[in-house]
Point group: C2
Chain length 414, copies 2
Amino acid sequence: MSVPESRPEAIELDGADPLADLRRRFALPEGVVYLDGNSLGPPLKSVAARVQQTVGAEWGSELVRAWNSCGWIELPARVAARIAPLIGAREDEVAVADSTSINVFKLLAAALSLRPDRPVILSEEENFPTDLYMAQGLAQLLGDRARLEVVPRNRLRSALDDRVAVLMLTHVDFRSGELHDMDEVTDAAHRAGALMLWDLAHSAGAVPVDLAACSADFAVGCGYKYLNGGPGAPAFAWVAQRHHDELRTPLAGWMGHRDPFAFSTGYEAAPGSVQLQAGTPPILSLVALDEALEIFSSVDVHALRRKSVALTELFIALVEDRLSGHGLRLASPRDPERRGSQVALAHPEGFAIMQALIDRGVIGDFRAPDLLRFGFAPAYTRFVDVWDAIAALGDIMTDRTWNRPEFRVRSRVT
Amino acid sequence: MSVPESRPEAIELDGADPLADLRRRFALPEGVVYLDGNSLGPPLKSVAARVQQTVGAEWGSELVRAWNSCGWIELPARVAARIAPLIGAREDEVAVADSTSINVFKLLAAALSLRPDRPVILSEEENFPTDLYMAQGLAQLLGDRARLEVVPRNRLRSALDDRVAVLMLTHVDFRSGELHDMDEVTDAAHRAGALMLWDLAHSAGAVPVDLAACSADFAVGCGYKYLNGGPGAPAFAWVAQRHHDELRTPLAGWMGHRDPFAFSTGYEAAPGSVQLQAGTPPILSLVALDEALEIFSSVDVHALRRKSVALTELFIALVEDRLSGHGLRLASPRDPERRGSQVALAHPEGFAIMQALIDRGVIGDFRAPDLLRFGFAPAYTRFVDVWDAIAALGDIMTDRTWNRPEFRVRSRVT
């Protein structure tokens, strides 16, 4: 792909994009270049009607009967079956339940019980904070039996020793977009006798994942980023089939019971990943995720990856060609093989620059201390969006628009 | 209140009901007598539009900005503030997060850490199973440091000794509707040096609760029964303010961090019950709950209780007057002071009788081995509904309709 030299040339790239039609299925506001789908994916157009049907024709008409008559009780398994092919999993290995945070807790506890003589949960400083927090919460609960060790990425290999029960890493770094090599890292963990837990929050739906091929043990992931399931959509959890017999979740809720509606006093785990269901699932949020996943039934995740790489390559090439001299530094790997579906640029005025971009309708986000973060969800991002984002960023840097006082006020969430 | 002798007399009772107008705010299907709001409350009519707004005008238009611009980030606290007055709580003592099951786990772990020398979680056989399961999951995780003891209700007092860290009970029994005396039981737990955790799933919104007055320590409750928040709506958790300084949840997610968007590596708990937030909340399900709670802003929970008692009294009186000789046995307390907002009738053919009732449009549910369960949510149940339910039940018993084969097939959920 040659780098376009004009906006019409960028539009030509969209004309040649075999995935271009997917965008029409998303509800995206006019005049917005949305580059934050790695934080919250947009709704599919069909989601509004689906949720409405669930509120009106199902909940409002069938009332409690809808658990059976409208299939709500089967919905977690159905959504799990839609996610499985995106991550190289068998359907019965995936559970859709709770949040990524809660699922991390379940699987770390399961990992520790499989390695009772090893107290260490190993992770890296760059990992997404809630994964580290959940490990800290578990370690505090377990006292001497568990502790979290967090090291810089370049010290992970040397920290992998016979005290480590489980290595927990996020496949795509939430700041830099840097990819771990899942095969290589999983293999290193296994050679040290440790189990491997992958957080796929920033990969599932944009970066192909093959959990079976890399022989990982556990995984979690997020429903509301590249899966577009809506704000706070239920998350997923994955346990390799070979661990199912020994699997025990400490969050032993009734939906993970072998026979929830027997209302028996003693807990008996359901087989496989079903036991990772805990309480009653939030159906309105779950149907939105179910509907959103429809998009993946018509597209191959490798085709999505090809487009994602083309988008991030174009963005970086345009930064290099057109935005030099403004002090923007690429904070993501230059090699697309080592990069997820997002690009980070560092600049000391990153916060204000991002506010100015958002004011221009280009929505990315900022991560302290200095990162402008841009996500390129391949299902709906156009090549012309990349062009327009670069054009807006160029104007802002040239005109120093970011120096306006209204862009320097820090809000609580970005 | 005299017992009506005809359907028009029952309608007269509705005419005199000061809460009668509330029903018009609910979306209830024609021809249905809904007596299962203790399992899943119906939607308010305004919920459909509210959820639609969240999908379209918020998620679809504001995208990730909606966390700030539409107040999503404040929504858990806002919903908590709506629930607080229903349970005699301060706003900052209540968290709205996750499921009842997950919240039980958080608070049992917190209770054990406040009583480190006491390993026993005490509960009763009649408790709702998921509460017992979560305690079993926690006990298995903690090994010698915790165990669940489950005794029949009449042995609770003698089991309360210096090994008990926390007594966990459900205020209103999910089968019989029998009420615990919260003051008396909490006091007994405290005299034994134990903490008290109440599950308010079957009371909040229908039976007045005063957690402050009874000096309880912890509580959880459900968003989708009498609070009408929708299937799998987020649940609530309550921690008495006096325990806030020492509170530590093992489910230490980023939304319970003091400053989630600092993305720091170390967990620092937010003050008060906010730390009971774990992962990202499911916004679509949460807005439905927020909208549903609007009903309580215009009505006093004691007025709801008066109507609830009148409804259950009428139901029982009509069973006694009109349904004797059919082998139906009252399985709920006859004294309304000892009864929640539901009534259970026992019959060996209970399952088939309930299927026949549902076929007639009278929706209650069945709980093994032999209970027909009827909930009387005071916000939308009419006196004429009680009359119609009794008339249908009378026909079914007289005609032995329940003996038809189609009513004897067991489905997975009821």
